[in-house]
């Protein structure tokens, strides 16, 4: 029976599914990486994803243009992150409390807005067109899975390298990392820590919003309240495990996506694994990974600590 399961189609479907499921995680975790490097622990990530998902869905529903929807998702995520900017970056309030406030209010708000607008109905969007990359999409297994995806998937993967380059090779990236590892030093060097953290936080919001928009527009085609179902928190964990390196964030997101996609695919071919086990496995994996590998020194020294000039 083993041979029949591990057919080329099956493997292709699993990989394709992994990319599809891992993409929102990737986008949100990339965003969280930027915030964490800048010294901000963005617990409200999931709230940003939710409003992104809702805004993306509604705008796509109105305009019929998924790209406009995705842009709206980015804008919505950034709008939510303004709360983080005002309360945590500017006022120096506790990041965990503010993050939870963002999460709760956005969960409630999107649910309310959806109910006010659509009541009990869940209209469906058209699927986003798939872009087959000429030549590469002809490769067996990898062709149909990796190189036959909506354009936004390629954009997401490209973003990994953009963020990598940003953090490692630009003045802004250096400043972002300094805002997390030594905000007082950055301040004394003449760079406004508040401004850098604001930029980082807004970027995080935009990416998380995009991740949410992706879920609503590309993966699901509908908006359901609470549809992110904890993915924001998984993204936070992936970002922490990635230790500020976007390529590792990509690997982590794809592994999570793979775990979800393998289980779904197995169910499709008749091997029934309870969904609870499927949903639990990634977390168990992370716990084991954390217990075995992670240490606190991986995190920026000033993570979660507000910056006030003259007090460091």
């Amino acid at each position: 029976m083993g041979d029949s399961i591990w057919s080329a189609e099956f493997v292709a479907a699993v990989i394709s599914g992994a990319i599809l499921a891992g993409m929102p995680l990737l986008l949100a975790a990339l965003g969280e990486t930027i915030s964490e490097q800048a010294g901000l622990l963005d617990i409200g990530l999931e709230g940003m994803m939710l409003l992104g998902a809702y805004a993306g869905f509604v705008v796509t529903y109105w305009t019929g243009a998924p790209w406009v929807g995705l842009l709206a998702a980015v804008a919505a995520g950034m709008a939510v992150s303004l709360l983080m900017v005002v309360f945590c970056v500017r006022m120096g309030r506790d990041q965990i409390v503010v993050g939870i406030a963002i999460l709760l209010s956005m969960e409630g708000l999107t649910s309310l807005l959806h109910a006010a607008q659509f009541g009990e109905s869940y209209p469906r969007l058209d699927a986003m067109p798939v872009l087959a990359i000429p030549g590469l999409s002809g490769i067996p297994v990898l062709g149909p899975s990796v190189f036959n995806q909506p354009l936004i998937v390629y954009v997401g993967i490209a973003l990994v390298f953009v963020v990598s380059w940003l953090l490692a090779r630009t003045g802004l990236g250096l400043a972002i990392r300094a805002a997390g590892w030594g905000p007082a030093a950055l301040d004394r060097a003449g760079v406004d820590v508040v401004r850098i953290r604001t930029i980082a936080s807004l970027t995080t919001g935009g990416l998380a919003g995009l991740g949410g928009g992706y879920m609503a527009i590309v993966t699901a085609g509908i908006f359901v309240p609470f549809m992110t179902g904890g993915l924001g928190f998984i993204a936070i964990v992936i970002a922490m495990l990635g230790r500020g390196r976007p390529v590792w964030v990509l690997v982590g997101s794809l592994l999570f996506g793979l775990a979800l996609s393998v289980a779904t695919a197995l169910q499709l071919v008749g091997i029934d694994i309870p969904t609870d086990v499927v949903q639990m496995l990634p977390f168990v994996t992370v716990m084991v990974a954390l217990a075995l590998f992670a240490r606190r020194s991986y995190l920026p020294a000033a993570l979660g600590v507000p910056f006030v000039r003259g007090e460091h």
């Binding site: 003045g171 250096l174 590892w181 030594g182 007082a184 301040d187 004394r188 003449g190 760079v191 003259g310």
Partner: protein, 542 residues
């Protein structure tokens, strides 16, 4: 020709072409809650000159310069740069006006490379300019006559090298005025010599240098002009010609007179700030008491970027003795103290207190044996700022009678105990229930000392016990240390970076350098030179 008293501000400047004036501070006042850190200070900083800002800890030197560097905003007063009034709202403004500051504690990010640290602050745009930075580093290093590897993480450099990188960074950012805040406090003698050489070159380049220090001799050696701050006010200025005209003794008398006017002269001697005092209590002899603390072949791992105890260290401290530990800060003092107290594990060797091995004992168990530790980080770990003075005074005996009976807190007993100690140690607090964080630094230290010295201590480790304290508190803490051992049953290990303090209190002085014990010197006439030689001997400033 001599020092001008502060109030007549216009008398401070003593001629010289006005175009040589780089910075002028007029009537700077800086208020902190309950404190006038700076009170109408006037100051003129000239090009091609090292201007020493002298004063005790807490006199407002750092605050004044932090105002200039944009860290604090003044409540009153004006800053003139190149003759024009300048608004300095943040460090960036200061940097753009050509003012660079090297803070007392490193402003480099330890996990970043030298090059990355250098590029910090070169805007937050897309371009990083690695090439220019590398080039600038090489050029400026040549100018200053220092060697720095651009790829090394800053945390792996010695403190002296870190300082050099910070100076280079300030110059690279175009600083024409360089402020150095207590730059020698963390340096070895070799590092200090290097710094002096660099300063000479900076002067030749026409830079204005402000050199903050609380050490008289340093100000005399390095400064071209000395301004003395006292309690936030400018107490007086001694200009270059005057400094040259006076003999060292006369100069010293003059400056001490400005720093401690009137009868406070005697206090200056207590604090070791005055004339090189005759060896404290005329050369103490090692008491012949029982061995109390024995360190046997001890090594201790340093934390991240910290020098531990690298070479097996053996020392014996007898009852009735103060054993001093000399050395420049960061040469293994804290690891040693914490290993004895039990706050970090021994890498090898053993510590015995009156014959009992402490190796496997917890902090609490060591405390019950009579071991006490007066930490050098009094606000960071010595007290809990948001708990009351009373609770802080018993925080090391939680759960034990008479303050706790069967786990139940007896508030009345705790308060009474605190009231007695507040009285005995002269702790100035609004009440025993006042939060420790509302006390001044000196009173916090009194709380810490009172806690450690209560309940019959046998051995007390003092780690920089008077650092940053005012003269009165310093004198009282020093008296406590001597009183403790003079009864003959207890002992004290006194870790200090202040040689005068060590000579005034210790029976013997051990010298620590780069995590190694360089030797133990009995406190006799001439001990100062011996200790200095041992410090330099180990002072490879690598």
């Amino acid at each position: 020709m001599t020092a001008t008293p502060a109030p007549s501000a216009d008398g401070v400047s003593s001629g010289g072409p006005s175009d040589a004036i780089a910075i002028e501070l007029r009537g700077i006042t800086k208020l902190f809650p309950g404190v006038r850190a700076n009170d109408g200070v006037d100051l003129v900083v000239r090009r091609g000159e090292v201007h020493c800002l002298l004063g005790e800890n807490g006199a407002g030197k750092s605050t004044l310069m932090n105002v200039l560097a944009g860290i604090y905003r003044p409540d009153e007063g004006a800053i003139l740069v190149g003759g024009r009034e300048a608004a300095i709202a943040c460090p960036r403004d200061a940097i753009e006006l050509g003012i660079g500051m090297v803070h007392q504690h490193s402003s480099l990010i330890p996990s970043f490379t030298v090059l990355e640290n250098l590029m910090l602050g070169r805007g937050a745009g897309v371009r990083l300019g690695v090439k220019q930075a590398r080039q600038g580093l090489a050029e400026l290093a040549t100018v200053l006559g220092v060697e720095v590897d651009p790829g090394t993480p800053a945390g792996q450099l010695s403190l002296g090298q870190q300082q050099q990188v910070e100076i280079i960074r300030a110059l690279w950012h175009g600083s024409r005025v360089l402020i150095l805040d207590e730059p020698t406090s963390l340096l070895t003698p070799k590092g200090i010599a290097d710094l002096e050489r660099v300063l000479v070159r900076l002067k030749q380049q026409g830079l204005a240098v402000v050199f903050i220090t609380h050490k008289l001799q340093e100000a005399f050696a390095i400064g071209d002009r000395i301004s003395v701050l006292r309690r936030g006010r400018l107490a007086g200025t001694v200009d270059g010609p005057t400094m040259k005209a006076l003999s060292p003794d006369e100069l010293q008398r003059l400056v001490v007179g400005i720093m401690f006017p009137g009868e406070a002269q005697s206090l200056a001697r207590v604090a070791g700030l005055g004339e090189p005092s005759e060896p404290g209590a005329a050369g103490r002899q090692a008491a012949g008491g029982e061995p109390l603390l024995e360190l046997c072949e001890v090594t201790v791992a340093g934390a991240h970027n910290e020098v531990g105890i690298r070479e097996a260290l053996s020392l014996t401290l007898h009852a009735g003795e103060v054993l001093g530990v000399a050395g420049v800060d960061g040469n293994g003092q804290r690891p040693l103290a914490e290993a004895i107290a039990g706050q970090r594990p021994l890498a090898s060797g053993d510590v015995r207190l009156a014959g009992t091995s402490l190796r496997r004992l917890s902090i609490a168990a060591r405390q019950r044996l009579g071991l006490r530790y007066v930490t050098d980080d009094r606000l960071g770990e010595g007290v809990v700022e948001s708990l009351s003075v009373a609770v802080n005074l018993v925080s090391k005996c939680i759960g034990r009678p008479p303050f706790w009976v069967r786990g139940r807190t007896r508030l009345a007993v705790i308060d009474a105990h605190a009231a007695a100690l507040v009285d005995e140690y002269g702790i100035k607090a609004p009440g025993v229930r006042a939060l420790a964080g509302t006390l001044s630094g000196g009173n916090v230290q009194k709380v810490v000392v009172a806690r450690e010295l209560s309940f019959a201590p046998r051995l007390v480790v003092f780690n920089k016990p008077t650092y940053g304290l005012d003269l009165m508190t310093t004198a009282s803490v020093r008296a406590r240390i001597r009183d403790l051992v003079d009864e003959g049953t207890a002992g004290a290990l006194l870790i200090s970076t202040d040689l005068e303090e060590l000579l005034a209190l210790s029976d013997r002085v051990a010298v620590l350098s780069r995590g190694r014990l360089m030797g133990v010197v009995p406190n006799r006439p001439g001990a100062e030179q011996e200790i200095g030689a041992l410090m330099i001997g180990g002072g490879r400033d690598a």
